[in-house]
């Protein structure tokens, strides 16, 4: 990783996915950290129990949902990782959302 123009590099941080640690730097999204570690999927679908990860990358498709610190249905491609975030994979009949 390169340094900033001010010389201070982004701080390293660690999150866990289902207990496994993943390393990255401040400013990365949860999806970015997982992909950088070659992890490709972290959700299983309701009907076919098929694996999913990032598809649209910008918060439109909802394929990348994870549970973050106990809070469900967080889009991993949008949420910036915070040091120590406890992330869990999701498998759910339908996300707990209203519409």
């Amino acid at each position: 990783m390169s340094a900033t123009s001010q010389g201070a590099g982004p701080r390293p941080l660690t999150i866990t996915l289902d207990g496994r640690p993943f390393a990255g730097t401040e400013g990365q999204t949860i999806a970015g950290m997982l992909l950088a570690a070659r992890r490709r999927s972290w959700r299983t679908t309701s009907v076919e129990s098929a694996p999913r990860g990032v598809f649209c990358g910008i918060g439109v498709c909802f394929d990348c949902l994870v549970t973050v610190n106990g809070s469900r249905d967080v889009r991993a491609c949008l949420r910036r990782a915070a040091d120590g975030d406890v992330v869990e994979t999701q498998h759910d009949p339908l996300p707990g959302v209203t519409s």
Partner: protein, 482 residues
Amino acid sequence: MSRRTVVVVGAGPAGLSAARAAARAGADVTLLDASDQVGGQFWRHRALPGGGTAPDEPTFHHGWGTFTALRDVVATHPRVTLLTSAQVWALERLDAGVRLRVLVGPADGAGREHLTLTPDALVLATGAHDRTLPFPGWQLPGVTTAGAAQALAKAERVAVGDRVVVAGAGPFLLPVASSLLRTGARVLSVHEAATPASMARGWGARPAGLLGAAHKAGELGGYVGTLARHRVAYRLGEAVVAARGDGRVEEVTVARVDARWSPVPGTERTVAADAVCVSHGFTPRLELAVAAACAISPDRFVVVDDEQRTSAAGVWAAGELTGIGGAEAALAEGWVAGHHAASGAPDDAGLARAARRRARSADFARRLDAAHGIRGGWTSWLRDDTLVCRCEEVDAGTLRAAACATGSADLRSVRLTSRAGLGPCQARICGRTVAELVGATEPAPGGDTGSAPAVPDRRPLVVPVRLGDLATLPDVPAADAP
């Protein structure tokens, strides 16, 4: 007398430009974006502590200097309030104007702060997202939109895979391939569905016609040079027609397509890849415009007049929402929209310059569509078991059966019977595809405001909202000022 208030939704090229123009014309401006940084899709960049800029940032962008100038204006102008991490999740129409409901805080976080705005004028600059046509296996991890690859490269320097195939339609595939190379991925090939003949129709007969197109020339020429240096083949008239793998993509099938994008039998070949990035164009984020009852064109863009004014009173629109013309067009349209939303003087010299730039960009949008617009033959690469709706996992066979069973091309009953488009993405990914596959004719939204036609873009909530957040929603009387 209090100053005119203008709210701009979206801080991409269009919204940034609109906010600056509106402030310059004397209005009090609030600029909102759901992201925690400004720049939109085009100027998505690394988020560094203290707002620092990565030294390699300018090499990932065109017009980085234009961006930093705009960013500095909206951050420091005394009449601009910039709100990032601010998701507009609902828009209600009032007797005069609109009311916006906003949640401010981390993406999808619980307990975000509520904000309600009732501005004198609204500028919508919500942009677009990739449109990706389904193909067998497109639901496998490792298959992403081209935009996803671009976003991860620009914002995090992360490559979506090690051996990557890029495919779809449009000049956007070129910067995506280039960004992937920069982040260390091996790009195996780029497959453009447009045939050489339709490329020539859109861009001119010379093979380099694409590069001759007005202001895009230098930018696209640079990408083509990068691909050549890395010996990446740019193949016209080809499409990815299938992906296969155990739990993630391991290989893709590429085939030649004819002028209607039907695969040519016997031309299939298989390529081993761990990622495939596919986009067939862009589709605008219409939900706020539809909620505001703005007229939408048959090709699903917000209809605007010369002043970027929509059919809804007090609502202007700019950028990809009104047509796919690229960042230059978005900047020019934003300027015009912001100026008029702020009731700026009609004889302003800056306005005239922006209007001229907008006219030049209109040509790019026309060429883009002529060369790369989606052709109907693509449906012949679908199989009955190809997923169309990714959320509810509805395949093409089920969808066709539902269309037959309901005996009509009524989109709403097809969706209710098959469940296509009823999942968490609310048909953003599959809506237009489903409508086209069942041959549904949709009434243009916005014309009739009393009823709720079954158009894929009509969504009561712009994004899913937590029940807890709805419970804490303050009841705001219509007269509240922003």
